[in-house]
Homo-oligomer: 458 residues x 2
């Protein structure tokens, strides 16, 4: 499957001269990216597309083309597969819709295209999808222009998404928060290449550390579980499923032609093969983010420290539904904190160092908590808006660099506007994930704790 992510050259069949049209935007964003291969637009009248001369037919394409992206009406596509094979194409991304998701006629075109691909030794991604993105080579097949959608930097998260919308949203959220992506695939109707193939490919991809996957159905469930069980011990897999209710399943059929199954059956199957199930898109984002940045978590006893206790109260509430625990701090830790912190601090877990807390008080507290053998996870909460911490936040980041690479995982909670988001980026740059709310943090961490236990018992 490597030609999908690292093609030598790519042909765009159905290229358009009109900005805003899918066949134009694919060419334009390929030319705008740092992708180093050749880009060959194919246009029936051979017109110039985004400043690039186009070819009038597939047969004229140069011999270095190994990938084709097609954006044409569905009925024209089956006949083109063989033509692509003749000039050396190994993979085709069919962006267009109008196939299985639309009606029976479309389903017939889809079947015909796949049959032709199998006969000609070609692999297909799609149809009805946005295709692929490679964070390293900067290659993508998106019809989402750069001004409307930012691409994340290179990194260790791979995202597979049946829903292009979910996939692209995750890519942009990751991009906005400075997180990096290795590979991205959106299959849409998943007529050929599917989650089993892609998971198998990512198993050997040294650039991928965490895999996020959105599905509306798992047609090759047994094969999926078999691959997932091999991948999970090496790289955590986070899965999100939609289309699980009767009405949702009906909607999924006309989305990607998927037959969806019940959520309970899905969850049971995922549990067996070590796949972490996300409740919704935001949790899928939180989970991939935490797993990408933090070393493996080795226990469930959490120490919280904060300059504003409200979110800690919510976090402690949320613990009740999980196996996570508030650490019982050692007496030495309590004594040391009581001795070294100002008298207005509430020495307990959560440790409330109040709105007067500055970087020094946070550093002192976190270092003491890190030393405590009863503590497995450090969880600082920040109200970056407060004057004392806002004024000393540079020192805060400096002091955290050491702790961030220490033995105990650190995850943190903070929410706000532009200033807070800036600090979040700085924290994440040094490897400390920042989650906006206590509920989201505890819920994500409970799932990572489940994964840790699966690993132990596996």
């Amino acid at each position: 499957m490597d030609f999908f992510f690292n093609p030598k050259s790519v042909a765009v069949i159905g290229a358009s001269t009109k900005p805003g049209k899918i066949g134009y935007e694919i060419v334009k964003s390929l030319l705008n990216s740092e992708f180093e291969g050749n880009v060959y637009p194919v246009h029936k009248r051979g017109e110039e597309i985004a400043g690039k001369t186009s070819y009038t037919s597939i047969s004229e394409l140069p011999s270095d083309v190994d990938l084709a992206v097609i954006a044409l009406p569905s009925k024209l596509i089956p006949g083109m597969i063989g033509e692509c094979a003749k000039v050396g194409v190994k993979g085709i991304v069919i962006v267009s819709g109008g196939f299985k998701e639309l009606n029976e006629e479309g389903a017939a075109y889809e079947k015909e295209a796949v049959e032709s691909a199998r006969k000609n030794g070609i692999r297909i991604i799609g149809p009805n999808c946005v295709g692929v993105f490679n964070g390293k080579s900067r290659f993508d097949t998106f019809f989402q222009p750069n001004y409307a959608m930012s691409r994340p930097k290179e990194g260790n998260i791979s995202i597979l998404a049946q829903s292009a919308t979910f996939g692209l949203t995750l890519l942009e959220w990751l991009s906005e928060e400075g997180l990096g992506v290795s590979k991205f695939v959106s299959w849409g109707n998943r007529s050929d290449v599917d989650e089993v193939d892609t998971l198998d490919y990512l198993q050997k991809d040294t650039e991928t550390k965490v895999i996020g996957i959105h599905m509306e159905g798992v047609p090759r469930a047994r094969e999926f579980m078999s691959v997932a069980e091999k991948v999970s011990p090496k790289k955590p897999i986070v899965a999100l499923k939609s289309g699980s209710t009767e009405r949702g399943a009906k909607a999924a059929v006309s989305h990607t032609g998927s037959m969806a199954g019940s959520m309970e059956v899905f969850k049971g199957a995922m549990k067996q093969c070590g796949v972490v199930v996300a409740e919704d898109l935001e949790q899928m984002f939180d989970l991939t983010k935490i797993l990408s940045l933090q070393p493996e978590i080795e226990g469930r006893r959490i120490a919280m420290v904060t300059n504003g206790a409200g979110p800690c109260v919510a976090a402690v509430d949320a613990l009740q539904d999980t196996k996570l625990e508030l650490a019982r701090l050692a007496e030495d830790t309590i004594d040391e904190l009581r001795y070294r912190l100002p008298p207005f601090c509430i020495i307990d877990n959560p440790l409330d160092i109040t709105g007067s807390a500055d970087a020094e008080m946070y550093e002192l507290s976190l270092k003491e908590l890190a030393k405590d053998e009863n503590v497995d996870i450090l969880m600082p909460f920040y109200v970056f808006q407060d004057g004392p911490i806002a004024a000393t936040v540079d020192d805060m980041v400096e002091s955290l660099k050491e702790l961030a690479t220490g033995e105990k995982p650190i995850v943190s909670v903070a929410a706000g506007g532009a200033f807070t988001k800036k600090q979040q980026l700085r924290f994440q740059e040094i490897g400390i994930p920042v989650i906006p709310t206590a509920d989201r943090m505890i819920s994500a961490l409970a799932r990572i704790d489940w994964y840790r236990n699966w690993m132990i018992n596996h």
Copy 2:
């Protein structure tokens, strides 16, 4: 209570000369704001604070001072209440902690301060809080500097928060999304002014249309329910409760000294008096946003239209747990849509106009759906990243202006990066709320639907 929001002049007792200190930041942000009243720092050595000459004692303060903000160690405060009364102060915001939330000694200071206030005819907000904000007069008592925390513009949402962190986060989220705020209060330990007083005040506040309220406990439960039942039919109240588990309640005691109660009892009580209960902080934000922007919802049959069906599948799944419904479109609507939209569109509810959809296709679809008598709520989903809609988004906004003021409520779903957020601001400016995920949208709307029914049966 009006002197808390519209003081003639304000004294800051415990003003500090050091940037980053609470007593400095309060003076600084008052001077930086557009608040038109006088600001009098009180500092024991009478030093200049943020360029302003200070008074060495309370007794020297000019006679126009009606509000005092105090940031001093707790033990000093009880003795100051009487002094404040002598110079005409009517309200005091005690920002400092070190009271009931810390220990018994602190609880005694708190009791003493309140007794002195009652004797002297003074009202107290706090202690252990950030105080108040008035969106119109731009008066606030925050120790959060402007560079670290943006203040929302003037608007119709009022936020009451026991947790300052939750309150300030909401203010910043609202500010970032162009939403406006009328009044804000954070009570902290709530020694005197509480949710009952504030709700009663907001009942008559013509600038407030929606009230969001965070609580860790409801000590005057009966009085609260009585006021809430009067307010709810006029202005929706959204409540968030934390500290409901045993451990959470323990954490709440050392946060704001609150005794928290069980969540089930709380929910039952809120149901009786028409208060919409939010599940978490993000939902509190979504609910206040939708209620602030959209006219009352008058039915539960939703029509969805999208250029990327993934989130619609999730939305349809989410409907299952609610009383909301997918509208069964009238035959005329189906016929008209089939006739006027391109053949690749999936004419159903959700209506999938595909990634090729531009502003014209959205306009056509939404206008048809708005005419359908089987539809109560219009719910467009947008993938703003897609080339065709990105290129025509200006037309999209223009065409929505008319629908936004039409008879049927419009709420929409979209998520992404900078470009999407820009479109979100434009949509919200014309009154169409944009929620990032389908799950959040359906969950919030189900609660608004519950409120609609409470109103009918009340």
